[in-house]
Symmetry: C2
Subunit: 224 residues, 2 copies
């Protein structure tokens, strides 16, 4: 069973931005040039990793010159850091954090995590994996600038899950003998591990298996 990265939930709005980017390419608006660079870099890094990302491909995709690149970013690393802050952080917020914030109850928040998993499954992140975790695995040991920016996103995500679990404890819906913060770390690890398993097989079978496992885990957190 194959998956396609460009069809579906996660990537839809980015496809839209890329379409917009092409249309505005000739305007020579510095803000737009910068935005085009960051978006092109996001896709290049997502496909190839940061160290194998080709600056020439990024420039061609963004339709800008090398001079314009270095006007906006002192280095490839600075461009990569901007990708984390300006693309990946809002992406993770939209897919994984906002549904927890807008849920009307802790149980709805836990259900929202399952729905986001299902959305990812349909979207087919199994081909290229999670852009947050890909960069974390590649860059955390070797670039503290990447590591801290990525860790900020993981912490925001973890806190959003922990908050839902704490509220669930206050409402006597979630077991009082679990540590919400630690439990949140495990839930994120399970999600990222599941995406990674699907990336290795290049199909969605292990992801479906993992989604079941996560749902069973949620059940184990609830009051009997």
């Amino acid at each position: 069973m194959g998956c396609h990265v460009h069809n579906g939930l996660i990537f839809f709005s980015f496809t839209y931005i890329l379409v917009g980017m092409n249309r505005t390419r000739t305007r020579k608006n510095p803000d737009q040039t910068r935005q085009n660079l960051v978006q092109a870099a996001y896709w290049e890094i997502y496909r190839h990793g940061f160290r194998s990302a080709g600056l020439d491909r990024i420039l061609a995709q963004a339709g800008v010159t090398k001079g314009a690149l270095y006007h906006h970013f002192p280095s490839k690393t600075a461009l990569g850091h901007a990708v984390v802050e300006e693309i990946i952080q809002p992406l993770i917020h939209r897919i994984w954090i906002r549904p927890l914030e807008t849920a009307e109850s802790p149980l709805e928040a836990l259900a929202a995590i399952g729905q986001a998993m299902e959305g990812n499954l349909s979207a087919g992140a199994c081909e290229l994996g999670c852009p947050l975790n890909n960069l974390a695995q590649e860059m955390s040991p070797i670039d503290e600038g990447f590591r801290k920016r990525l860790d900020t996103i993981f912490q925001l995500w973890r806190e959003a899950i922990a908050r839902a679990l704490r509220e669930g404890q206050q409402l006597a819906q979630v077991r009082s003998d679990i540590d919400p913060d630690r439990s949140a770390a495990f839930i994120i690890a399970a999600i990222e591990g599941s995406i990674g398993m699907a990336k290795n097989t290049q199909n969605s079978e292990p992801w479906r298996a993992c989604k079941e496992g996560l749902e069973r885990h949620f059940e184990s957190l609830l009051m009997a």
Copy 2:
């Protein structure tokens, strides 16, 4: 809390092999040359990833010439595939699969997974992550030769866990309403995700949290 890759359970026997390698460097034994190359490549790939692995550093570490390299391996990719088959597969077998095979009961097998997690924690794979999952995340989408070899290892691991769960069901120790194979996929995802979380923070805190989560998950699989 920092971690050190070279001290501890996982890496100890490889350190031993590396010591042996230096001693035999001058013998010009073709088998030994080949083995030195694969071992040096393992460490270089583990530290830098496959695409950023430096052939010059591998040659210097192995103490062999480029000519000798191409005598044994037609390409860097072929050398990388040998690393998966000859180093990573036995490593994963020793740490994660054999303890399941030698366990005297299904419950002991599940406990052995927790012990392997603890061993990893002490060994400090939080700095550089899991060599199996690192390569899977980097290479699965772009090299089918890597992907299939890595997938073989994941499948062996998954089957070993699934077997323990099936035996547990037969003994009425594990709940009959879980699917052993799918559950095994989730357990591996959770383990690999946990190692990845620790790699991102570069410390063991999330790993401890995840180990607790995994133990709670095991409890949820058992008959009440």
